[in-house]
Symmetry: C2
Subunit: 195 residues, 2 copies
Amino acid sequence: MSNFEVLFDYIQEISGKLLSEDDKHLLMAHFKPKKLRKRQYFLQEGDVCKYIGFIVKGSARTFTVDEKGHENVLKLSVENWWLADFESFYLLTPSRFNIEALEDLEVLQSTNAQIEEFLKHIPAFSAMQNIISQNNTIATQKRMQAAFSYTAEERYEDLISNYPHFLKRFPQNVIASYLGLSPETLSRIRKNSFK
Amino acid sequence: MSNFEVLFDYIQEISGKLLSEDDKHLLMAHFKPKKLRKRQYFLQEGDVCKYIGFIVKGSARTFTVDEKGHENVLKLSVENWWLADFESFYLLTPSRFNIEALEDLEVLQSTNAQIEEFLKHIPAFSAMQNIISQNNTIATQKRMQAAFSYTAEERYEDLISNYPHFLKRFPQNVIASYLGLSPETLSRIRKNSFK
DNA sequence: ACAATAAGTTGACCTAAGTCAAATGTACTT
DNA sequence: AAGTACATTTGACTTAGGTCAACTTATTGT
């Protein structure tokens, strides 16, 4: 299956609508394949996030670096997710985030201006956008609640049950940062949970 | 200014589009004014959030209650905000949240099915929805970052600079819970910051 | 295959924030 | 206006999780 077929399937499945041949040609004309090797940056702090990427293969982390050089992972992204700092992408302001490939990464990328065109002309695309933003609203609300009202251990258990594959796929220090923990603390939690 | 005029102004301003007379009639036919007194619930845990409300006057808090009876404020909402548990509202599942009026509250409310109609027939309404979900994505991302990488004191300073009116308007224990702090800790932070 | 670099573990210690309890202050209700 | 129910403050104490450092185990690049 080609990269574009992955994208088409995704749009059709999420939106519940079919893409016409014209729709597909429009998408193929304006999404550009891009490959990044592990450790390469999709976005660097201070730059404007000019592209949004649809992940066909691989994974990435979105993180900030605070004054003390402490890295803070906000998001982990895998296949069939969109990759961008949406604040920077929508508002065209410099980003406070870095987005780095955790594994070799293949994306299909496009610009803000192009996305506006897709939304105007492709019904399945705008239906998709609505559903994604609903899902996003829901997911972030859950994560907020978890951050505030769960203990470190509960957040880890929660991750295990919701995204078990994350644990296999990402290094433990990345998972720790994603959970808002130091690597040492996560190491200890794991040790205890084997009893 | 009538309640509906507040809503019309809001939609037009956010969307950057004008509402036709027909649009306005459609909205007036399907948004129902509703008043709640302070302490009354807009939504109770376990119920499906059947209505979305546009706040014309007053304020509300969205919170959960954990096993220990500990309340956890996730959102504070004031005039010109939408009030709902979007997860429950979109998916029609029972809500894990409570929404309670903090001050006497006037909303214009409508149902999921009606909102779908508005989105279909009123261009300004769907433009508004897109912009709101963009803003929402951005705001939640910021709040997530604050929750993970700021200290209690920094989160309080942040609130002061972003929403100074919240401090005047809401009781301190509500603010504390919103910041993910015990009331005692917030009291101490405030004491220290007067030096 | 072998340094070299990074990731994970473990122990000792520290600190921010939570908990409990008592005292004071404020605001609804009748 | 008095009385009851909340809010806030303060102090004493506890605890979850962070920090620093030493060590072990994996990855990575040449």
